[in-house]
């Protein structure tokens, strides 16, 4: 006796079946969200001056919110990792290049992965000089410990975003380095990211033709939910969409794209199904209250249509896959970028995540075509 399985032959990145491997060979993948990690702060020591190393040992961070050394919410899995992504020697997932190669780069047929470091980056720290020192260290570390050793990896310019001048300095340091694919911000900053104080960052991004990736989280002291600090990790995860919408409304309505028409931003790890309704609502308000934002010449959604790309992870899983295809169509297939979020527990496997019904061309477009254009990967 055997029980019925919904999709018994689904290819799997973790499975050993050669059939599964062959099936996924067809699609190359450009991953817009990979998280490498230092094993500990010690790994960054070679890239920090003695002044900042001593400072960290003596005083530590100056976070804008509590629990800065732990997780604000328990993560359901160690360090929010896929349990099988913890390397053989232990520690953080994404901290061992060899293991990453076999479990992820090779197994998932990754052509290029854009790294978004989140550990030890100092982003959002209230000591802006320390934030800048850590950003610089993490940027050097990305090159020395990752991109120089593995040609499939690309770095992100981590910036101390609470200080715009220091951020621009960091962008100028790396912008023409061929290993860097984007500038990295987080969604929850002390003020919404469309505000003018941040504009020099976008000016530098436009000047160098670098997209700006905006990943969820950010230790700004603001809860993920506008309703206040929630009780559960599940609320924290679900509320990212709300934080993303606040951030994107700011981008659209402050006129960032009117001022920087070449700017491209990427909303990373906030899901995507909410985007059409959000854009419909923005346009509806604009039609009635356009005078409040006369600097906008077009409906807000048109700016976002051109300037915003959105990563697919964590993927939406409606009961009826037709609904998913409707959402893809409302958003536009050219705006979707596949992301795995490896090594985190909400990892999406490129071999199984996208619905086959969209056909091979659109599959390839989301898995790599849109990203190839955006990150100028040739």
């Amino acid at each position: 006796m055997t029980t019925d399985v919904r999709t018994p032959n689904r290819p799997s990145a973790a499975g050993s079946s050669t059939v599964a491997r062959a099936a996924q060979e067809r699609y190359k993948v450009i991953d817009s969200d990979l998280h490498p990690s230092a094993r500990s702060l010690e790994d960054l020591k070679p890239f920090l001056s003695k002044r900042w190393w001593d400072h960290l040992q003596t005083y530590g961070y100056r976070s804008r919110q509590g629990l800065y050394q732990g997780q604000v919410y328990p993560k359901a899995a160690p360090f929010a990792h896929r349990r099988d992504a913890i390397p053989p020697e232990g520690g953080f997932g994404g901290s061992n290049l060899e293991f990453m190669r076999s479990q992820y780069l090779d197994a998932c047929n990754i052509e290029v992965a854009i790294m978004s470091p989140l550990n030890f980056t100092g982003q959002g720290d209230d000591n802006h000089e320390l934030s800048a020192a850590l950003a610089r260290a993490i940027n050097e570390w990305q090159v020395e410990c990752w991109t120089r050793l593995e040609p499939r990896l690309r770095a992100s310019i981590v910036v101390p975003y609470e200080d715009t001048a220091l951020s621009v300095e960091e962008i100028e340091r790396w912008a023409e380095h061929p290993h860097f694919a984007q500038i990295l911000l987080l969604t929850r900053t002390s003020e919404p990211l469309g505000r003018r104080r941040f504009w020099p960052i976008y000016e530098a991004a436009q000047k160098h033709g670098l997209p700006v990736g905006i990943h969820v989280f950010g230790a700004s002291g603001h809860p993920t939910s506008p309703a206040g600090w929630p009780s559960y990790y599940m609320e924290d995860m679900t509320s990212h969409a709300a934080a993303c919408q606040g951030m994107l409304a700011s981008f659209a309505l402050e006129g960032v794209f009117e001022r920087f028409p070449g700017l491209k931003i990427i909303n990373i790890e906030g899901g995507f199904a909410w985007l059409p309704a959000f854009e419909w609502r923005l346009d509806k308000h604009w039609e009635r209250m356009r005078g409040e934002v006369p600097h906008l010449k077009r409906p807000p959604s048109e700016y976002l249509r051109e300037g915003l790309r959105i990563s697919t992870q964590p993927f939406e899983e409606p009961e009826n896959p037709k609904h998913l295809i409707d959402i893809f169509e409302w958003i536009g297939y050219d705006r979707l970028l596949f992301a795995t979020d490896y090594p985190h527990w909400d990892f999406d496997d490129p071999a199984t995540t996208l619905p086959r019904q969209i056909g091979p061309e659109r599959m390839q477009q989301i898995l790599s075509g849109n990203a190839r254009k955006l990150y100028r990967l040739g």
Partner: protein
């Protein structure tokens, strides 16, 4: 349907599990207090390896503010997205009818029986004195 000898009973202690290969398919065999169960080692959601998942129990609540923890060691959580599967049935807790992992019937056979056949046992020596885990697949 053939019957495959995949391990000796002593290979998999109580609370342990072992990944075996059955006709090229990865199968994970669990020992829950001396009872053996076999599941395809591929989560029906996105394909995570259940063998790498955490063994846990069921947390349930009759009402808000209450909780009951039961069946310790009988539930496996997928290492990727945390889907919970009942090792006894292969059914997921949240969507038992639609999302279930393929289960294989398991029997324990005496070595003397195994030597007589008709079993497939290519990978190791069978001795008459021991007991073996046999999977029907």
């Amino acid at each position: 349907m053939a019957r495959y000898v995949v391990a000796s009973v002593d290979d998999i202690g109580i609370g342990e599990r072992k990944l075996v290969d059955v006709r090229g398919r990865p199968v994970v065999v669990f020992n829950i207090n001396g009872e053996f169960f076999a599941l395809l080692d591929r989560c029906p959601h996105q394909g995570g390896s259940l063998c790498a998942g955490k063994m846990t129990g069921l947390v349930e609540a009759g009402a808000v503010g209450e909780f009951k923890y039961s069946r310790h060691g009988e539930i496996v959580r997928c290492p990727w997205h945390g889907w919970e599967f009942d090792v006894r049935t292969g059914k997921s807790y949240c969507n038992p009818e639609r999302l279930r992992v393929r289960q294989f019937p398991v029997t324990l056979e005496a070595g003397a029986q195994v030597v007589e056949g008709p079993f497939v046992a290519e990978t190791f020596q069978v001795t008459v004195e021991d007991k073996y885990v046999v999977i029907e697949a």
